[in-house]
Amino acid sequence: MAEVKLVNIKKVYPYVSGEEKKKNKKKSADEPEKKKVNLQITDEGVVAVQAFNLDIKDKEFIVLVGPSGCGKSTTLRMVAGLEEISDGELYIDGKLMNDVAPKDRDIAMVFQNYALYPHMTVYDNMAFSLKLRHTPKDEIDKKVREAAEILDITQYLERKPKALSGGQRQRVAIGRAIVRAPKVMLMDEPLSNLDAKLRNEMRAEIIKLRQRINTTFMYVTHDQTEAMTLGDRIVIMKDGYIQQIGTPQEVFNHPANLFVAGFIGMPVMNFFDAELKREGDKFFVEVGGIKVELAPEKEARLLKNNVQSQPVTLGVRPEHTDVAEQGIASTVEVAEMMGSSVHLHLNADGKDVIVIVPTIDMKGSYKQGDTVHFTFDGKVAHVFSKETDKNLEF
């Protein structure tokens, strides 16, 4: 249990000798520099994380989420002490940890590929860190059996990891972390190696575990469902920068920019080219021949930011888009029956749009080529600047 504070953290992977020469050679030859996706290449080296500021409260469950290469695992590894911090400060429980060895940070980490010691039994794997800390034998035994009980792996204690399934191995990995009762529990995509069913089960296990062991969690995932269900707060990252920090509800209802809006939510948010019109203190969006007034609380925020009429990117989630008699005209391309709802894939003037229609509200079936009109409410419309991609309400 501890507070974790990351202040202006930066991670740069310096060039190894030779790479820089190649880069300079390319520069002098006046060739266009190759741009790697998600990597910012500077004279210092490759920048993986920058301007990372985060205060994690005691016992909080923080989830770092983002696409591959966004710097989330690097950040977690810097907290663990497995990566050097290039710049900035890391505090755990108020103590500066930049130069403290991983073993002295009082943290535990669960890895994506379990990282169990294959030549040791489950019991020895779980007892290993306690033995290194010269904990008395009876205490080790008690702690290991308690953790095994919590994770329901008591019957496997004498087995070697190779005799366990993926799910059981991951339980052992979690067990190995919790026996130490660490101040901070770090988890690096712990469920990514499991199949979908097991992942759902383990997700529920982690939620239960969190209630029982009561420590500070930092959890990395690229799966937004995991992020939404597990996190007290979510940190969404892209290209080494934090895009937004907020509760699952906040990031879902008030995405800070186009990236967050598109990343959080499944199916992804629909985006339209629209016009934002300011008429006195009122704001309207015009799109596809319809004009919708934004909700008063949105108007208040836009007014506060002194937003003027301008072309915008309008974002509306599929679940907030309704089929109506009148609205934006579109043609049905695919209708996916999901059980409780139908996902309509529409083509609205060349734009792909998804609309979720609850089956209970359906008056008939949808066929490819049918013309459908859809609309949305001013409460659920998000307006993003065309220039900066930022939500104009922020």
Partner: protein, 294 residues
């Protein structure tokens, strides 16, 4: 369903059997001929079925009092040298796997360099005798071979990189283990195949080494078995002169020089032939590691 091509399998087995016989034939010929009498070899040539079994050649070899002593010297050197050499090789190989180690590339280059170029015999001799003063000491049989194979270092490094997930080492670091602890308690136990492989290679190297005895040893008490056998082989006169007159009454005319040459080869390699099957499983595994994704 995959159809089994029995005819092809039989063909393959026959070819493999022929190749196995071709490999075993010289070995069998060597061992059995060494048990033939000298006169039979002169008369009938080397034969798989000796006309008369005769162990005179072996009697001659073992009548040389220092054979057993030389055996002991070589066994000691092989055991100590192999353990020390495996330890040094694996430690250096592990060091070379640490990506952010300062100077790792230079260290790798220096190791690789020795694969291509050596210091040469005379400079090595001068270094060992004038700086390290190992002449006529047991160190002369141990130290020059301690780090002589960059190839061993490279295959060990490759094994570590391909077979030990970095997350296990990171996990051990978080658990509170020192770098030495990680090496001895995590890396080595997970590397039995490669340790057995290079261990066997190094044991062979120490066992078969006769040159260091030749260069640095003049003290009879420190001569290894291979050097002694080499002396016997190249100079039968040496054997006759050094034999204890009371043990085998003989003169130069009765020294079975042909069968003795064969017996010397058998005495030199027999311990390794006996040991090989115990290492074979790991040896094969070790040589093929990293060939395919595990």
């Amino acid at each position: 369903m995959v159809r089994k091509d029995t005819g092809f399998q039989v063909f393959c087995h026959v070819i493999l059997a022929i190749m196995a016989v071709l490999v075993l034939f010289p070995l069998a010929l060597l061992i059995l001929s060494s048990m033939s009498s000298e006169s039979d070899i002169i008369k009938y040539g080397y034969s798989l079925i000796p006309k008369n079994f005769d162990f005179t050649a072996y009697k001659f070899i073992f009548s040389e009092g220092s054979v057993f002593h030389s055996y002991l010297v070589t066994i000691f050197v092989t055991l100590v040298g192999t353990v020390a050499s495996v330890l040094v090789t694996t430690m250096l190989a592990y060091t070379l796997t640490i990506n952010d180690l300062p100077g790792r590339r230079i260290l790798s280059f220096l190791v690789l360099f020795t694969m291509l170029f050596s210091g040469g015999l005379v400079p090595s001799y001068m270094m060992w005798t004038t700086i390290f003063h190992i002449k006529n000491t047991i160190w002369a049989l141990l130290i020059p071979n301690l780090l002589c194979s960059a190839f061993h270092i490279m295959i060990t490094r490759s094994y570590f990189q391909n077979n030990i997930p970095p997350a296990i080492l990171e996990s051990a670091r978080i658990d509170g283990m020192s770098e030495f602890g990680i090496f001895f308690k995590i890396v080595l136990p997970l590397s039995v195949p490669i340790i057995a492989t290079i261990g066997f290679m190094k044991a062979l190297m120490y066992w078969n080494d006769w040159t260091n005895s030749l260069y640095y040893i003049t003290d009879k008490n420190l001569v290894g078995i291979q050097a002694l056998l080499n002396n016997m082989l190249t100079n039968v006169q040496y054997l006759a002169q050094s034999m204890d007159a009371s043990s085998v009454a003989t003169d130069m005319a009765t020294v079975p020089s042909l069968s003795m040459r064969l017996a010397i080869a058998v005495v030199g390699m027999l311990p390794m032939i006996i040991l090989y099957p115990f290492f074979q499983k790991y040896y094969m595994k070790g040589l093929t590691v990293g060939a395919v994704k595990g």
